[in-house]
């Protein structure tokens, strides 16, 4: 185990910033803490447990151009079919672009389609173990696990990213990582784990990528007392996370309760926005749209969510999940039944952001306690969760 003195943190991050982009929790002028690109001199905010949003945005971009298309004159370079993950920009030269626009509608213009996949090296510093685990759960979906498709856009960024997690010192009352197979010092998904000890951080490399980071001169070997201190911090934090619900049989119970009227009661105060899914480190659903300007266009993907009333709306006007309670049921079932059935793990790492940021404080722990357990006969007009 290594030790990094508190006053060496800036130097370490500065060192990283020389080679890649550094992202860290930073407090804005409005007092809001978010993961933001870090630049030397910026204070890293580790006192506030969780930034408002998870760090997923830096790997699964909220909006990302993945194809560019336009028209090129005959004789110009034809579309280069490229399945590699290197960045490639089509028609980057303004004059060329102008020419392409001018000829876009002529019979001689050739359609040029190019994938765009920009993935600069980056280090995400200061995310909590739950956020790091969130990436592992998304990795299954985008990484072709179990015979599904491999997503070159997510994976290019994922492979170019190093995750430096920091053990949680003071878990919140809304944290429930220990109920979903994680913990405040979980190492899953992270490359390095920092634990705050007196005067600095006890630091462990967890992967080869992490090992490389610790080669930096700012680190010294940790003293035995520091190692023990770090262990105490981890244990104390773990003890502070309350058990929230029982995972035993949850998948079967959700399946059995699919038509249970309790879903209506639980969804009453849901306003069908997408906040819970967008602040979630695991929710990954997206939309694909084309944005076209003057004969040149981009196909982009943007975060989308199953609470969006038009998410499943079909052209005919038919909507398979037309009611609030249907959409509400989908999110929890996806995380604890649909996803586990496909990927043998859960789609939740227990950060509790969906609880704290829900405009009406819908509590996933309560939803799962009620719907993820055996339901006895429920009268149609039961009270809310009570």
């Amino acid at each position: 185990m290594k030790f990094l003195a508190q006053d060496k943190l800036q130097a370490f991050l500065g060192h990283l910033a020389g080679e890649s982009r550094v992202v860290a929790p930073v407090k804005g002028d409005d007092g809001v803490v978010l993961f933001r690109p870090w630049s030397p001199g910026t204070e890293v905010e580790l006192d506030v447990l969780l930034p408002k949003q998870s760090a997923k945005e830096f790997v699964l971009r909220q909006s990302e151009t993945y194809l560019r298309y336009g028209y090129a004159m005959e004789g110009e370079a034809a579309a280069q079919v490229d399945d590699s993950h290197e960045a490639k920009v089509v028609l980057d030269d303004p004059a060329e672009r102008k020419a392409a626009q001018d000829t876009a509608v002529t019979a001689h213009a050739a359609l040029v389609v190019e994938p765009v996949n920009d993935a600069p090296a980056q280090v995400i510093f200061g995310l909590r173990p739950c956020d790091a685990r969130g990436f592992v759960q998304m990795d299954n979906v985008f990484g072709g696990y179990g015979g599904f498709y491999f997503d070159p856009y997510y994976n290019a960024k994922r492979e170019a990213t190093t995750l430096v997690a920091v053990t949680c010192r003071d878990p919140r009352s809304t944290c429930f990582c220990t109920s979903v197979q994680g913990g405040p010092a979980s190492t899953e998904g992270a490359d390095v784990l920092f634990t705050q000890v007196e005067g600095g951080f006890a630091v462990e490399a967890l992967t080869d990528k992490g090992e490389t980071l610790l080669a930096s001169a700012e680190f010294v070997d940790a003293a035995q007392a520091q190692v023990l201190y770090a262990e105490t911090v981890k244990e104390t934090a773990e003890a502070r996370v309350d058990a929230a619900f029982d995972l035993e049989g949850i998948q079967e119970h959700l399946r059995a309760n699919i038509e249970d009227p309790g879903w209506h009661d639980l969804a009453m105060r849901c306003i069908s926005c997408g906040t819970c899914t967008y602040v979630c480190p695991n929710c990954y659903c997206f939309n694909i749209t084309d944005e076209m300007v003057e004969g040149r266009g981009e196909r982009i993907r943007t975060w989308d969510n199953c609470f969006n009333p038009s998410y499943t709306l079909e052209t005919s006007g038919h909507n398979p999940r037309d009611t609030k309670s249907n959409r509400f049921r989908n999110r929890f079932s996806h995380k604890f039944w649909y996803y586990p059935e496909k990927y043998d793990s859960l789609l939740c790492s227990g950060c509790g952001r969906c609880i704290t940021h829900c405009p009406t404080r819908i509590d996933i722990r309560e939803v799962l306690s009620v719907m993820g357990s055996e339901r006895t006969a429920v009268p149609a007009t039961t009270g809310e969760e009570a």
Partner: protein
Amino acid sequence: MASTQNTAGGNGKSRLTFADVKAGVTTAAAGTLAGNPYLPQIATIIDIIDETPNIKSFRVRFDDEAVMDALAFDPGQVGQLGIFGVGESTFAINSSCSEKRYLQFSVMKAGEVTSALHELNVGDKVGVRAPMGCGFPVDAWKGKNILYIMGGIGSAALRATISYTLEHREDYGDITILYGARTPLDLTYKYDIEDWQIRKDIDAVITVDRDFPGWEGRVGFVPTVLEEMAPKPANTIAITCGPPIMIKFVLQGLQKMQFTDEQTYTTLEKRMKCGIGICGRCNIGPRYVCVDGPVFSMAELRELPDEM
């Protein structure tokens, strides 16, 4: 049969990396673009057939000859047909699996993408990602009687399968086609219908919802006609596709006639985006229509929440 690897709960579950994909271990089925399942192949429209007042069939050919040559798909599989600048939509591949010159998609003018497709001419470029999803288990059906029950543009989803069973006629028992539309004008593939009616080795019943000037054929809703036909369930597979309300009554009818859930198949349509089981839009409970479907047996559907 072309093999599809994209079935649910695949074996040897493990995560892939770029290294794997470059080495050729890939799960994508889109021709030479195996490494990037989002990237459409550019194709040219070589023919457009006006099927009905609001349905056109587009025959498209990949610009890359190697992709065209390598194309193989199962009857019932689908593809994403798109226009750059507008977007993509999912359509059944309704040309025969043995057709090597083109892929055919039938498009009913309704929304954003379909309306834009209707504006296209022969020679225009489209983007195609195909094949996707799982087809019908036509091999497992060998030796059985096949009953197709279709309404409106539902015929597009079953056309490749009908072609397959007719091209392998000796492998199957009786083949019956019940096809209905609102009016004679709304019947698709009139060239197929003529062929079916000439052939002696199949039984084709064509019906329209109500009397229409000049129509001398059968009149009646598909579920009603099905009841009158009273097909026997013994050794028979029933496959239905059409408007949701028709499917609903057909399934009820089949159940009444003692067809089991394992004997009954349908193919579903859902709003889709990625088409590769990731974006999370087309799921019905734990099943994704794009990769686990669009073909489902009634037995499979019974397991799912009521989100059709």
